[in-house]
Amino acid sequence: MEKLSGADMLIRALQDEGVDHVFGYPGGAVLHIYDAVFRQDKIRHVLVRHEQAATHMADGYARSTGRPGVVLVTSGPGATNAITGIATAYMDSIPMVVISGQVQSHLIGTDSFQETDMVGVSRPIVKHSFLVRTAAEIPETIKKAFYIATSGRPGPVVVDIPKDLTDPTNLFDYSYPETVTMRSYTPATRGHTGQIKKAIKLLAKCERPMIYAGGGVIQGDASSQLIELTRLLGFPITNTLMGLGAFPGTDKQFLGMLGMHGTFEANNAMHHSDLVFAIGARFDDRITNTVSKFCPYAEIIHLDIDPTSISKTVTADVPIVGPVDTVLDEMIELLAPEVAERSEKQQQMLAEWWEQIEGWRKQDCLAVIRDESEDIIKPQEAVQAVYKVTEGKAFVTSDVGQHQMFAAQYYPFDEPRKWINSGGLGTMGFGLPAAMGVQVAFPDEQVVCITGEGSIQMNIQELSTCSQYGLPIKIINVNNRSLGMVKQWQDMQYEGRHSHSYMDSLPDFVKLVESYGHVGFKIESRDELEPVMAQAMAIKDKLVFVDVMVDPSEHVYPMLIAPNGSMRDMWLRKGVRT
């Protein structure tokens, strides 16, 4: 058997797991591991400028490819800097393995240099974590980490490795386990047939149905099944912020996003529905508005891989625990004859339901309201221009705030894994590094980061990493000189007192990116919007930063009215409510 050091075993285990990229930053506790990285050429290491960005890069890589992202950081500050990115991945169920160095075993607990209890610090935001005790257990621990991160409801797993375990002078027999079984961890592989049949009965007799699909469909690679099921049933469908792209955004059956900034038609259809079929979604507070007023007429079927998601906030009438793809496969088979035998009455009820929905649609709630005599650019128009020049085909990452909502509303995604944003944690600073992770995975694809001048500055140091690795990302900075979403809430709830939502002393972004060797454009008038965006997208070998000056007074609408509102209670534009 081959004899390897702990550090070499770790890198070999990653290779044997099929890892091709690791995002990281070296430091004292991982020096042995970095030496092992140096002495091999199968895994490409991407050196970031801040560990938070390493986790977001791995996250973007995972969201776009479906394969787990891998992060390597040192102990102490390296590990704690990774926390925000781990929490981001945890909230959105993203498979990720984070390897952190730890101080030498005999120093643990002595407050030694760069020591942090990483397993303790990360505990509430990981799917699981390991503190490796002996070098011999490194291969099996890595196998378990990847198995846990990628199976069931995916999530981040931390593997904390004390420095002495990677000592190059201690050699061990290396073999990588082909499979791993854990008696305490057995994720569901199929749904309960009885529950599925109950769901079929409800789906066959409902009159005002609504399919509500979330990020679980994307993480569970069940987009094709969702499309088949929705087409077969002929029901209206909405996607959550995390589920956009799971069903084609330009399809007639698609009512747009639901929730806080969902469309008038999607939120109304949810409210009036008599059967909500939730698929890989979790009834987040940004969806339901006031829980007691949520979907008052609907029975609820809830399909999810994670039993804790079911009946957590909204009680499911028919819970189904299982992987979305296999359960939907089974349902499609059972539903086909039911749909073929649909009564005339039911067909008529469904037609009437669609008629009602079309009435809501006619509101055209996303129409951009503007004064044509002014040249000011609306932020929505910036997103529309991106959509047009990329023909709706780009990978789009976003940061967090108004621009994120505008991107979700005005860039319809026709495919899964193309829309990448931090939905659960809402992490500003996510967009640029996430885009880098996508670009690393898909070097020839168009990757656009729609951001704002607030968010971009939270990880702007990564412009340097982009130079080093030649990542030709297109950054669209929807620049309103303010923290737009904070300002919107202050306008609506604090009588316009803009407490610290104003971004004073902004840099000249064009000059800034040029200093990193990138290309920068500034757009200040409407007629420049499309041509300059097109020019930016045409530059294939360079990062281009497009600084778009937009109307700072714009708000995101529709917007659910809280507190005490239901899903049909919305602000439709400034001062206009349902």
Binding site: G120, P124, L131, M182, T308, S311
Partner: protein, 163 residues
């Protein structure tokens, strides 16, 4: 409602902190907690009592099950079960009080496990209610120290919690 949940967890460092962390993180209540290895040294059995509604207890059991190191669990209060708690109590016992304390202890089937000229240390086991009743039965001013183990429990009949 008071619930007693028994959990088999991998006997590994850090496993207990995940259970306790979960309760803090999800804002669940823990009244008592006991933990010790089982006849299988790779497993620990943890028993906790909590005050929770039916909906809450459903979430608690599901969230516990989701922890990777949790092998199996049962809500003992769902079926017939036996619950016991151990209490050690140090009491002032002088003069006429000495006989009175002894008598009360006997009524509750307590054992005096340590004696000094001025004190008795009594060991008492039973349900939480019984131990509470004992504490009510003795004069409050005589109590010097109370140690309670928290609830342990087991199902009645042939039902067992094993892997």
């Amino acid at each position: 409602m008071r619930r007693i949940i028994s959990v088999l967890i991998e006997n590994e460092p850090g496993a207990l902190s995940r259970v306790i962390g979960l309760f803090a993180q999800r804002n669940y209540n823990i009244e008592t907690l006991t933990v010790a290895p089982t006849e299988d040294p790779t497993l620990s059995r943890l028993t906790l009592s909590t005050l929770a509604s039916d909906e809450q207890v459903e979430q608690i059991t599901k969230q516990l099950n989701k922890l990777i190191e949790v092998v199996k669990l049962v809500d003992l209060t769902e079926g017939e079960h036996i619950e016991r708690e151990l209490m050690l109590i140090k009491l002032k016992a002088t003069g006429a009080q000495r006989a009175e304390v002894k008598r009360t202890s006997d009524i509750f089937r307590g054992q005096i496990v340590d004696v000094t000229q001025g004190t008795y240390t009594i060991q008492l086991s039973g349900t939480t209610e019984k131990l509470d009743a004992f504490l009510r039965a003795i004069p409050e001013s005589s109590v010097m120290e109370v140690v309670r183990s928290g609830v342990s429990g087991i199902s009645r009949g042939e039902k067992v919690l094993t892997t």
